[in-house]
């Protein structure tokens, strides 16, 4: 093969790779485009969000739910649901608010402990789901109460404190870049690395078709535990970030937080049922929602409208993500067992 044809072939392959990347990531790219558009609208109404302070408070406001939604996305990708999000985040939050001392050693150890609690809580969810065979909704509903109760045992009412240095580490700004942005980017990089192992494919296989995954020798139980544990890792980060942001502990974070995380997952484009998605889109979904809140705030609309807007965005997002459902009537779907 001549040098020229070889190059031509390689260029052709590159083109195919780019096209295939674009087509595989179309949902992700679309939600990212929506985020950019929303942010542009926000900036055109008020330039405050473009200032260093404005941008960092915008990122800080969205980061907790974004981190939790990233974790939740992994569970959803694996075909599960995790209702225990808020309870795990709250547990981590109160542990940090009651244990962290104003020394760098304490900050480090308590941070590790916090992430460890998240991973352990997530892994336990996964172990319970695989060993009992119960739907993950049921298992995590139970653990939602368990971790929520544990959080109240640690701290029975909002309180505690978090050292300023720690708060600044996560929510401050260095050289014009909010530290939260670095944290979120770090999580993205971590996922990029992880997605180059067979784990990502195994998670998507598990979510796409559990029986098929099993028949292909995918370690189903291990993959499921890993998915929940990765989610727990993200919840741990979310709990840490919440602590830094509020510099106190809130034991009863409540179902609101869980529902926001679910909304962010859906808006980001990770569809319930599993087999598709990425945690990065959970981050994007959360910020699409927060940008819309920010727009409402800027135009001085009543904050109660946030809920209405969340609902509207959810419906639009799901419809846009499933254009075929609009075109194909549901009754045309064959019943199970059809196809003789």
């Amino acid at each position: 093969m001549s040098q020229e044809t070889a190059t031509a072939v390689r260029v052709g392959e590159r083109g195919a790779a780019v096209r295939s990347f674009a087509s595989r990531k179309v949902g992700f790219l679309a939600s990212a485009a929506v985020l950019v558009a929303f942010f542009a609208i926000n900036a055109s109404i008020s330039e405050a969000v473009l200032t260093t302070y404005g941008f960092s408070s915008f990122v800080n406001a969205g980061a907790t739910v974004a981190l939790a939604a990233a974790g939740l996305s992994v569970v959803v990708m694996a075909g599960g649901l995790d209702l225990s999000v808020a309870a795990v985040v709250a547990l981590v939050n109160v542990v940090v608010a009651t244990r962290m001392q104003d020394t760098s050693a304490s900050m480090m150890w308590v941070s590790l402990l916090a992430v460890g609690i998240g991973v352990a809580a997530g892994a336990l969810n996964g172990v319970l789901v695989t060993t009992t065979g119960l739907p993950s909704v049921i298992v995590t509903l139970a653990t939602f109460f368990i971790w929520g109760g544990a959080a109240l045992l640690v701290l029975d009412s909002p309180g505690g404190s978090v050292p300023f240095d720690f708060a600044d580490l996560l929510t401050g700004v260095r050289g014009g870049v909010p530290n939260a942005v670095l944290l979120l980017l770090g999580l993205c990089v971590l996922w990029l690395l992880l997605s180059r192992t067979s784990l990502r494919v195994n998670i998507l296989a598990l979510g796409g078709d559990r029986a098929a995954a099993r028949a292909n020798g995918v370690p189903v139980a291990g993959t499921e535990v890993a998915a929940f544990a990765i989610a727990g890792f993200c919840y741990g980060l979310a709990g840490l970030f919440l602590s830094a942001l509020t510099v106190s502990g809130t034991p009863n974070l409540g179902a609101d937080f869980t529902l926001n995380a679910f909304a962010a997952v859906v808006v980001g484009g990770t569809q319930f049922g599993g087999g598709r998605g990425t945690p990065v889109s959970g981050l994007i979904g959360a910020f699409v929602l927060y940008t819309s809140y920010s727009i409402l705030f800027t135009i001085e609309a009543p904050s109660e409208l946030n809920y209405v807007l969340t609902g509207a965005i959810l419906v639009v997002a799901v419809v846009v993500q499933n254009p075929r459902r609009l075109l194909v009537s549901r009754s045309a779907e064959p019943v199970s067992g059809a196809g003789g």
Binding site: S23, R196, S198, V201, N216, G217, R276, P334, A338, G340
Partner: protein
């Protein structure tokens, strides 16, 4: 019966190699169909020809029960490396269970595996590595073709990239002569025949000992079937034992060296395929003991088909890809039989007429008026009822009472002012139950407490309550005992005589010849035969089921 060691006529004769196994082939004949363009290029996996790890694997006296169902009953089969084995049987004959025993997913209650006389476990032995391509594909829909091909294989948790996976998958596809599949695209975006080829490629790639192909041609087009035959021959020549499970002999006939026929969990024949023809195998597959029945409606059979009111007319109905251009009429008072081997499109026909599947073309007329059967609800309103094969999941709510099951499709008829009236329920259901011979005492018992035959009677009675005039009966008597079958036949003729009409598919030819006024046969989605009255014979029905001539 043990398979004979004789070679099938038409297969290559041993060229001085070991007896009982085809030797290496002259590359001028078969190898060229396998690899057109570049014969002799040693790029295929598998051990060298002539060096399989073992020669003979005997599955000896395997039995397996699932609850009360004897799925396998003392089945013995022998497999040889470097040969192709056909495993044939109707639905429910035990094929799937045998596959799962072979690949270790199901542990048999009794029996063992002996490889070259050494007892070997079915699961976990390096000497018995089975790779299976399933009919109900085990591909993960949203993952790319490439990721599916390597799924579960990448044990290492090292860093890979999507593009390197694509490269590996392209190599696999190229090796197995699949050149029209984009490994980057999600599996879901490929049509079913392509998905089946991907499933097969994955199994081909993962074996050097035993390859099990479960109904591999069920979704393949003729070109795909030819491709598959080429790959099968290639693997056989590499010393792999290939097991093809099918109910359709025609497509695999010429690649099989040995054939085992299963029926009702037993191996009824196991021999070299040279001694078998299609007719003989079909008879072995289908031939249950003749029901000890006289024709229920023998007198009516001999009448010329009467001019009756047409209650159901199907015009050029197509349900791609299962059914093509099927037309039929069903007259008042008529039992119209549908004959067909498993999977010829009859299921799509029944599902479409019951509104559970959408036709791609064609019209359905009920009582002369065109109806759009968009949902079962519409079909029920049009007077159509369905008695499915699987009463437990499609016909009944087992946990609920007979009462609730009977009145569910017709709640409006048993309600006063929108409130369900228990008295009206009982009053409406009583004649239906009596007509089917169901004891009134079971009215408030759970449906699960009834025997299989009685459960099926409840399903039928349900449509009497709903006042359906057209009954679609899809192999309703499978697994029902002979006595209940007789009662059912009598009821079907009574129902028809009372102004109803029945479209009746059965996997048992004798049921069709016993009860039907007319019979049509379906093969590969098209009507291949139509007969009435005394024309309805086992032979004619069977001929139609196998492709027919009329």
């Amino acid at each position: 019966m043990r398979p004979k060691v004789t070679q099938m006529a038409g297969l290559p004769v041993n060229d001085g190699g070991e007896p009982g196994r085809p030797g290496p082939l002259p590359s001028s004949t078969r190898a060229e169909e396998v690899r057109p363009g570049n014969p002799g290029k040693p790029d295929r996996p598998g051990p060298d020809p002539g060096t399989p790890r073992w020669r003979r694997a005997e599955v000896a006296s395997v039995s397996k029960c699932f609850g009360a169902i004897q799925a396998l009953d003392d089945v013995s089969v022998e497999f040889r490396t470097g040969s192709v084995h056909g495993l044939l049987g109707q639905n429910g004959a035990g094929k799937s269970t045998l596959i799962k025993v072979l690949n270790g997913l199901v542990r048999p209650d009794a029996g063992q595996l002996r490889i070259d006389e050494n007892p070997t476990p079915f699961a976990g032995s390096p000497a018995w590595q089975v790779s299976t391509a399933y009919q109900e594909l085990t591909l993960v829909p949203y993952l790319s073709v490439a990721e599916n091909l390597v799924l579960g294989r990448r044990r290492e948790y090292g860093v890979t990239s999507f593009e390197s996976t694509v490269a590996a998958a392209s190599e696999i596809l190229r090796r197995w002569r699949v050149d029209d599949v984009d490994p980057r695209k999600p599996v879901k975006s490929n049509p079913l025949p392509v998905r089946q080829r991907i499933e097969i490629v994955r199994a081909l790639e993962r074996t050097d000992q035993v390859l099990v192909l479960d109904e591999p041609t069920s979704a393949l087009d003729p070109a795909g079937a030819d491709w598959l035959k080429g790959q099968i021959r290639h693997l056989r020549d590499r010393g792999v034992a290939v097991v093809i499970v099918s109910h359709r002999l025609a497509e695999i006939e010429d690649v099989c060296d040995y054939v085992t026929v299963l029926r009702d969990g037993r191996a009824v024949a196991s021999e070299s395929s040279s001694g078998l023809n299609e007719q003989k195998i079909a008879t072995l597959m289908l031939g249950r003991e003749m029901l000890q029945t006289q024709r229920v409606i023998a007198d009516r059979h001999d009448e010329a088909p009467r001019a009756t009111n047409t209650v159901l007319e199907v015009q050029s109905l197509s349900v791609e890809p299962a059914l093509r251009d099927v037309s039929l009429t069903l007259g008042e008072g008529e039992v119209l039989g549908v004959g067909g081997l498993e999977g010829q499109g009859q299921h799509a026909l029944f599902m479409t007429l019951f509104g559970a599947q959408r036709p791609t073309r064609g019209e359905v007329l009920v009582g002369g008026r065109a109806v759009r059967l968009k949902s079962p609800r519409r079909a029920i309103r049009a007077g159509i009822g369905m008695v499915p094969e699987d009463r437990k999941t499609e016909g009944l709510m087992l946990q609920r009472t007979v009462r609730e099951n009977l009145t569910l499709p017709a709640l409006r008829r048993v309600s006063r002012a929108g409130v369900v009236s228990p008295a009206k329920e009982a009053q409406t259901a009583a004649p239906a139950m009596a007509s089917l011979g169901l004891a009134a005492g079971v009215f408030d018992n759970a449906a699960s407490s009834l025997s299989g035959g009685n459960q099926q009677k409840v399903v039928a009675a349900k449509w009497l309550v709903a006042d359906s005039r057209i009954l679609l009966m899809f192999d309703p008597l499978r697994g029902v005992d002979v006595g209940a079958r007789q009662e059912f036949f009598a009821w079907m003729t009574t129902f028809a005589a009372g102004g109803g009409a029945v479209l009746f598919y059965s996997s048992d030819i004798d049921e069709l010849t016993t009860v039907c006024d007319r019979v049509i046969t379906i093969y590969r989605g098209v009507v291949t035969g139509s007969m009435a009255g005394s024309e309805i014979t086992r032979e004619r029905v069977l001929a139609g089921m196998l492709g027919g001539d009329s």
